[in-house]
Amino acid sequence: MRTCLVVDDSSVIRKVARRILEGLDFQIIEAEDGEKALEACKRELPDAVLLDWNMPVMDGYEFLGNLRRMPGGDVPKVVFCTTENDVAHIARALHAGANEYIMKPFDKEIVTAKFQEVGLI
């Protein structure tokens, strides 16, 4: 079973994402900030990361840079999932190595479409 690391400081969002992604046959690992997500990646790289932008301790953008610099860190597909919905943020995320971008609010169809787009489904 493929794994997806869900990184968001909101437990509600993590719960919603878990429910959607488990329905798509992913095993879910949760992290509430970028630093904890990075620790999880050091233990074992996931197949996918669903990543919030604004979080305490380490934000999603910084996490992504760190992940991509790790050995094998270019492999996980990273899908941002954030309220930062302007073109400038999207362009920054893509430049930093994000594979896709979801603008909150989101639903199951959007997550499914984006995961399909990057070849995870």
Binding site: N85, D86, V87, I90, A91, L94, E100, Y101, I102, M103, F106, D107, E109, I110, A113, K114, Q116, E117
Partner: protein, 291 residues
């Protein structure tokens, strides 16, 4: 909704749009028409039917539009667009090298996601630079055509099937809305069209997208539309149908495109078309019904 109201709507929809509702589709009618009734200040479907019977033509047109408008999103089903990009267009680019033009018809374009998906593919193919590319987008419903023409989509709409790189490249953001760039919009011509009526005036096409619309028609109507489309497509052209649709058992005017599911090419080897070139575009009883 009473059985007689349902029967009235079923008959009217069949005559006006070809929509062939089976007896178990009352839920569909209710889900689409109750909001329309409320919008018109009516308590429910019985009152809506009553008003339609009193010759409220504008309201009847709204009912037909509400029942024939289908959900759509960018690059819906993905595979037909991959086939278009990887197989169909490269073959056409070779075959049309002398005339350097390609015409594509989206026969039920709804709110525009399909023709604009095609337009973005064409725009992003360097081999088509300098070519004349034309996409004709038709639909029965004027309201969806207006939305398509505007090329403005909500945040939800641009996230269903549209790769983020394409969003950034081909759209401008305006608050929560996303406006397609003028160069992409200019590639698409919109026209209102009922597939039950003659469409030969549209000309000849290299590719016809007719997805998820014939599924609502009965077998005879499907066969008639396929036959007429076969006379409007180039001999090496391609017809693209929806994932759950096929020509098999309905017409021999088209045959499956090799190794590409959902795609069909004109059957140039068949003995003789069922409808001769000089005959009416459609059976007279259907012409009468379409009026």
């Amino acid at each position: 909704m009473t059985p007689s109201d349902y029967e009235y709507l079923r008959k009217l929809l069949k005559e006006r749009s070809g929509l062939d509702l089976s007896a178990d589709k009352q839920y569909l009618v209710e889900s689409r028409l109750v909001p329309l009734a409320r919008k018109a200040g009516l308590p429910g479907i019985p009152e809506l039917v009553q008003k339609m019977k009193a010759s409220a033509e504008a309201l009847t047109a709204e009912v037909v539009e509400a029942m024939t408008t289908n959900e759509t999103f960018f690059f819906r089903d993905k595979i037909p667009f991959d086939h278009l990009k990887d197989a169909v267009l490269p073959a056409l680019i070779q075959a049309r090298a002398a005339r350097r033009s390609i015409r594509i018809w989206c026969a039920a374009c709804s709110t525009g996601q399909e023709p604009y998906s095609i337009a973005m593919i064409l725009k992003d193919m360097p081999a088509l630079s300098g070519w004349r590319t034309e996409i004709v987008a038709t639909d029965l419903a004027q309201a969806v055509l207006e939305k398509s023409k505007a090329g403005v989509f909500s945040q939800f709409e641009v996230q269903r099937g549209l790769p983020i790189q394409m969003l950034v490249k081909h759209f401008k953001q305006n608050g929560d809305l996303w406006q397609l760039n003028p160069d992409i919009r200019a590639m698409v011509q919109h026209r209102q069209l009922n597939l039950l009526q003659d469409f030969s005036h549209l000309g000849t096409f290299d590719v016809i997208f007719c997805r998820n619309v014939l599924i609502y028609f009965d077998q005879d109507t499907k066969a008639m539309i396929f036959e007429r489309m076969s006379r409007m497509i180039e001999p090496d052209g391609v017809l693209v149908l929806g994932a759950a649709e096929s020509v098999v058992g309905i017409t021999d005017a088209f045959k499956p495109y090799p190794d590409r599911r959902g795609m069909y090419c004109p059957n140039t080897t068949r003995a003789a078309p069922r409808i001769a070139a000089g005959s009416p575009a459609m059976p007279l009883k259907l012409v009468a019904a379409a009026r």
